[in-house]
């Protein structure tokens, strides 16, 4: 048995979502190789080689892989697929984009967003916005799986796998045009230990940033938002926590002016400690919060800043 993990990385190093996916791969059993796709991603491949329990790292590079175009990832993975019984990747936006494409080419049913490995062919995954968990058994000889990183611990460092180059695929019918990335010195939502998240109650983009940014900076936290706040333009799409946005599970999640729609709860209810600040005492968010303050964020957040010192 051999498993291929397609890494999530920033060009310099693999993100901890990769180490968490390696943990899921270990539960399937067998040898684990990591594939790093990108351009100028040698450093990321070297960091992948340090994850403990990894047999080898494959590095594939091309301009299209530098933009993680799904067609290019598919073209890179297909020639390698014969050597593996399972292909795993984190269920982030990139993984969700290319994994089903690879599965279709291999004529297998993809297994999306697993939160538990029962055995090499049986997995648990959330459905209906996390309101139900299904246990499914796959009869496909080869499995293509996306892994919800927050459900697994990161595999430790301490490995010294070799790095081999493999051929990088192209995307002949897709051209990269541009990208606009949100620049921030704060931690990424997926990796942050503390997240402060704002909702529609904040009322405007200016207010959102005026309230959330200083609090996030004080706590060393990432900033999230509810779908309502993103739809209203108060926060960029990348901030959205929820069923179709980011699924997070930090040590501490502070929800400010978020009522707690089921789609939002689906994205954060696995956080270790949840704090809700909302002026509506009946808001559903209080039903999942460990600590709640009923009050207007306009008074509570400044008090919180003072209390934090």
């Amino acid at each position: 048995m051999a498993v291929l993990v397609i890494a999530d990385h920033d060009g310099q190093s693999v993100r901890d979502t990769t180490a968490k996916t390696v943990t899921a791969a270990q539960k399937l059993g067998g040898d684990i190789d990591i594939l790093v796709v990108g351009q100028g991603a040698q450093a990321a491949a070297d960091s992948a080689a340090k994850i403990s329990g990894v047999r080898k790292v494959l590095l594939a590079e091309s301009a299209e892989l530098g933009k993680t175009l799904a067609e290019a990832v598919e073209a890179t993975v297909l020639p390698l697929a014969d050597g593996y019984d399972a292909i795993l990747t984190p269920a982030n936006m990139d993984g969700k984009n290319f994994a089903p494409r690879i599965a279709a080419k291999l004529d297998v049913s993809p297994i999306s967003d697993i939160v538990e490995v029962i055995s090499a062919d049986t997995f648990v995954r959330p459905i209906y916005a996390g309101n139900a968990l299904e246990t499914i058994k796959s009869s496909d000889a080869k499995k293509v799986i996306t892994v919800r990183p927050t459900a697994f611990d990161a595999a430790a460092d301490g490995g010294s796998a070799s790095v081999e180059n493999v051929s990088g695929g192209e995307a002949p019918k897709t051209d990269f045009v541009s990208e606009e990335m949100v620049k921030s010195d704060r931690p990424e939502l997926g990796a942050a230990k503390i997240i402060v998240s704002g909702g529609r109650a904040l009322g405007s983009a200016e207010e959102f940033h005026a309230v959330m940014d200083p609090l996030a900076d004080r706590l060393g936290a990432a900033v999230g938002a509810s779908r309502a706040a993103v739809d209203a333009g108060y926060a960029p799409n990348d901030y959205q926590v929820g069923q179709t946005g980011k699924v997070v599970a930090p040590e501490l999640y502070i929800a400010i002016g978020i009522s707690g729609a089921i789609q939002h709860l689906a994205g954060m209810k696995d956080s270790k400690v949840i704090v809700a600040i909302n002026k509506d005492a009946d808001a559903p968010i209080f039903q999942v919060a460990d600590y709640g303050i009923v009050g207007d964020y306009k008074t509570v957040v400044p008090e919180l800043m003072t209390a934090l010192g």
Binding site: A70, Y128, A129, A132, L133, D238, L308
Partner: protein, 253 residues
């Protein structure tokens, strides 16, 4: 340009799904069903392409809606027709098919209908797989642009701004292509009464899965469906100072 829009009938997004006591699945008896919200966004965008609203005039010439599901999925198709789609195809299936089977059926529909664009929701809110669009593109060897927040059609290409981790990415895919819709693409309209009446006269062809000669044998067996562990509501604290003290004692600050 002919546009094919696959749509799915699912539990209404405002209804909380409840797991059946025998763990065989989610209870859908007497539950309000609606068009999957992401599919609605896809229908709306196709209609705007036809109207020239936010798109070059008449970018879309014909909009064909296809649904795979039970007989009642006809209502979902009618909703799309009332929004402005031209005609519908219902592929009747009483079992919920896996994304791979759905993608194979849609491939067969594409080969028959020959659209230049397949516009569809990025995921259905029941299975939450987020897979069919990508799989259809792969089976057709077409390019894909998933999680679209903006679409422009021109010069035989779809230029699509996609929601990705860290921000947005814009790609240009050669048509024919598959584009899947994200939340910020548009706000779907409510169909007007005259349009609902008009939709009743629009054609819906009913087909069977077997008509397409596609292997839809399941590859996955659902062993059980359970409720996730429930979180208990905690305590209300009086003020920020008490909150900070509690968080410090929990070791999270």
């Amino acid at each position: 340009m002919k546009v094919l829009v696959p749509v799915k009938r699912v539990i209404d997004s405002n209804v909380k799904a409840r797991v059946k006591a025998d763990q065989s699945g989610v209870d859908l008896a007497n539950v309000k069903m609606s068009m999957n919200p992401f599919c609605e966004i896809a229908v709306e965008e196709a209609v705007r392409m036809k109207e020239g609203k936010g798109h070059a005039a008449e970018t879309a010439s014909e909009i064909v809606v296809v649904s795979i599901g039970p007989a009642q999925a006809q209502e979902t198709i009618r909703t799309a027709l009332a929004m402005g789609a031209d005609r519908g195809i219902l592929i009747q299936s009483d079992t919920d098919l896996e994304p791979l089977a759905v993608a194979k059926l849609l491939k067969a529909v594409v080969e028959e209908e020959k659209p230049e664009l397949v516009l569809m929701g990025k995921q259905s809110i029941d299975g939450d797989n987020n897979a069919v669009g990508q799989m259809l593109a792969a089976l057709l060897d077409w390019p894909q642009a998933t999680f679209a927040a903006k679409i422009e059609i021109g010069d035989g290409k779809a230029t699509v701004t996609r929601e990705v981790d860290g921000g947005v990415q814009t790609v240009a895919v050669q048509l024919p292509a598959v584009v899947t819709t994200d939340l910020r693409l548009n706000t779907p309209r409510y169909a007007s009464l005259p349009n609902i009446m008009k939709a009743k006269k629009k054609e819906i062809a009913t087909k069977a899965v077997a008509d397409y000669g596609v292997d839809v044998t399941p590859r996955l067996t659902v062993q059980k469906v359970t409720e996730p562990p429930k979180r208990q509501a905690g305590e209300k604290v009086a003020d920020a100072a008490e909150l900070v003290a509690k968080l410090k004692s929990k070791g999270v600050l």
